[in-house]
Symmetry: C2
Subunit: 210 residues, 2 copies
């Protein structure tokens, strides 16, 4: 009467994805160094050695997990970006909201966490993340500033800022949630409002021109 054990099924196509998901969760909880293939296998519900059928090494899994997540984030972000219209504050709020949704509030921040932790040992991944994710975010903000200057909403000297200060609170809150949230939860929505207000007040002036 007993059916075949589900755990012994052969599912060649599904395995890599399952392994990546399991690995991602393990990396989140334990970090790269502390994660073992046995942990990943147990979580994925397969034997440890099965992993070797799909990945060469632990590093390869890590790389695949990161690439997978990064690509997903980029795709999702690409879908969300509309042709921007509206004043600076409106568009900036949209962009920042996107960042909070895709980074701070999602588990994509695990990537950031792991890169911070193990960056020295995986410089290629660090470069990849810096170029594919962070750089794109910076470019978006830069373009937004330029647009604001062009329309006259922003003063010329707004271009003098290092654009990273405009995103820094989002980065910090992403990390905060991963590190301190258990002992001191962050109200993300309220923090985001402070963030937007800080930047807009600084760039537009406190008493907005008519």
């Amino acid at each position: 009467m007993k059916k075949t054990e589900a755990s012994h099924r052969r599912r060649k196509e599904a395995r890599p994805g399952e392994i990546i998901v399991a690995a991602f969760q393990e990396f989140d909880e334990k970090g790269f160094g502390q994660t073992t293939l046995a942990n990943i296998a147990a979580r994925a519900g397969i034997s440890r050695t099965t992993i070797y059928l799909y990945f060469e090494t632990k590093e390869a899994i890590f790389e695949a997990a990161i690439r997978d997540r990064i690509e997903r984030t980029i795709d999702e972000a690409a879908q969300s970006v509309h042709a921007p219209h509206g004043d600076f504050r409106t568009i900036f709020t949209q962009v920042i909201t996107l960042i909070y949704d895709r980074l701070v509030l999602s588990d994509a921040s695990v990537i950031l966490k792991v890169l911070i932790a193990e960056g020295r040992t995986i410089p290629d991944m660090v470069s990849f993340y810096r170029n594919e994710i962070l750089r794109k975010g910076e470019r978006t903000i830069e373009a937004l500033i330029q647009r604001g200057i062009a329309t006259g909403e922003l003063n010329q000297d707004c271009a003098d800022f290092d654009v990273r200060v405009f995103v820094a609170p989002a980065i910090m809150s992403a990390i905060w949630r991963r590190v301190f949230d258990d002992i001191d939860p962050l109200d993300v929505d309220q923090f985001k409002q402070s963030h937007v207000r800080l930047v807009c007040d600084a760039l537009l002036g406190r008493h907005e021109p008519a």
Copy 2:
């Protein structure tokens, strides 16, 4: 003619400090999980088993290293804080400069890095850091804002901000330097200027009142 091997000397008092320094460097390079007692011992120029004479476990070393560094940072910071006088921008610049000197430009940011990486496994250290370091920074900024409101330099609604946004760029740059500096060095001084200007412009208004 040959003197006694320096590596075999008995120096009970100096050892713990040497071990802590060596461990700190290893944690920086490899993270907590990847650091082995053998690595620490080699760097400290002693035998691995000697470590057991002074520390119970690797965690104990880490804790000692963190406490040591945190206490040093607090002491140094306490010395540097003078009775504040001057306008908001002046004092704020002083405080931010202190943070950059003690966190961003020093190797104290290694602590932050390790906490981000291994926080889940050492919640006590996370609480300690959050309460002893971060909280104190927040209090300082809060007091500064209140003072500004009292003197009339700042508008009442400046108190509505989550104070962490005022420090976020410093936190981000501390991490940046640990992760991305090899491929994309950060000009800390320039970034700090952007930071100060962002906050002051937002709080004081762009066109400063006389």
